[in-house]
Amino acid sequence: MTSKDIIKITINLVIVYLIGGAILAAVYAKTSPIMFKNAKIAKEKALKTLIPEADIIEKIGDWTIHKKSAEYFIAKKGDETIGYIIQSFGKGYSSYINVLIAVDKEIKVQKIDILSHAETPGLGDEIEKDEFKNQFRGKGIENIKLVKKETTEYIQAITGVTISCRAVTDDAVKNGLDFLTKTLKGGAENGTIEKD
């Protein structure tokens, strides 16, 4: 390879990167506000389906997990508090898994919902299946533990998808419940609370 080749290759790459980068930046600038809005609508819809009997679901604060900011909400029916919803993240195989967890007043899980993730298609996305998600129903924080054996007491992992399942169970849900318990009992060591 002569120095002429090297210069040509360098110019090649620089130009491809510059043009490519410019196109991607332009498209991103156009599409990201729409994506942001879509994600917000999807989240509001998800909140409604998590605790359908609630009249109002209000945000009560923010907290941080894996350096990502997440929100938590209070669900009310009339004047009575019937539960809470907390958003949480788990570090999966190839992405952070964005999870919503609905709990009742005793911080027992009612339902969870996987908002978004980028796990392996056809394998990691098994965590979206109801058979997995329904295992969380009625479980308190002491029962949120992933095991590989058949179990009804804890959460059973899906064969071949252990890492993604662990991210949801031992990371996202467990930390979410942990934070919620501590916060609701007065202290808020892990997060920042902004009441309004």
């Binding site: 290759i9 196109i23 991607l24 990201s32 729409i34 994506m35 879509n38 999807a42 056809g122 996305d125």
Partner: protein, 210 residues
């Protein structure tokens, strides 16, 4: 003009649809052909995404064919392909969020489609812009056609509906939308199109296809 060289554009376009159909003839990119074709809507949108990427990639590479250094042509092709796929990915995420939620993961996999890189290397890097575009359109439409036909039958049989609207109000044959049904559908349709090809189009004994 380009016409003076007697390039038969019709031939170029039909080549991708009939003679070298990515799925039914070359049996390439079968992963998306099975993974996203459980519904007509998904199949058509995936086909359109591939059509767009194929045309843009072919055009870009043809435009740059004299400028790219031969030693790094494959990395450059991959950069161009991934750039256009990312554009498609972002546009689809914004425009059709419901569908994107289901098949967003597969859109990103277009980067790894053998058919796209193959056309870039075999055709676009050696031909002028107009024929390269025609080739991309042909290949893309061929892929779109294949995905549409496969997903049409799978959704009709497996869910009794088309584009989400119920057509047959009876218990559907669930296997059609499961992965196994995907293999069956692709196989049966592949056989069917090859049979038509041999029987009516008489493409010289078609020894190369099966």
């Amino acid at each position: 003009m380009a016409q003076s060289k007697k390039i038969n554009y019709i031939d170029l376009i039909t080549n991708g649809i009939v003679k070298e159909n990515t799925i039914f003839k070359l049996a390439l990119s079968l992963c998306p052909a099975i993974a996203v074709t459980s519904g007509l809507k998904n199949g058509v949108l995936m086909g359109l995404a591939v059509l767009f990427v194929q045309v843009m990639v072919n055009t870009t590479i043809s435009l740059m064919r004299n400028f790219i250094h031969a030693k790094i042509r494959l990395p450059i092709f991959m950069l161009i392909i991934s750039g256009w796929v990312t554009v498609t990915d972002m546009v689809m995420a914004a425009a059709v969020p419901d569908v994107y939620r289901q098949m967003g993961l597969y859109i990103q996999l277009i980067v790894a489609f053998a058919s796209i890189l193959a056309r870039a290397e075999m055709f676009a890097s050696k031909n002028k812009i107009a024929p390269s575009m025609a080739d991309g359109i042909g290949m893309g439409i061929g892929f779109l056609f294949a995905l549409t036909v496969i997903s049409f039958f799978r959704e009709l049989i497996g869910k009794g509906s088309l584009w989400g609207l119920t057509i047959i109000d009876a218990k559907p044959l669930l296997i059609a939308i499961l992965p196994a049904g995907g293999f069956l559908a692709v196989g049966i349709l592949m056989a069917f199109f090859n049979w038509i090809d041999m029987r009516y189009l008489k493409k010289r004994a078609s020894a190369s296809s099966h």
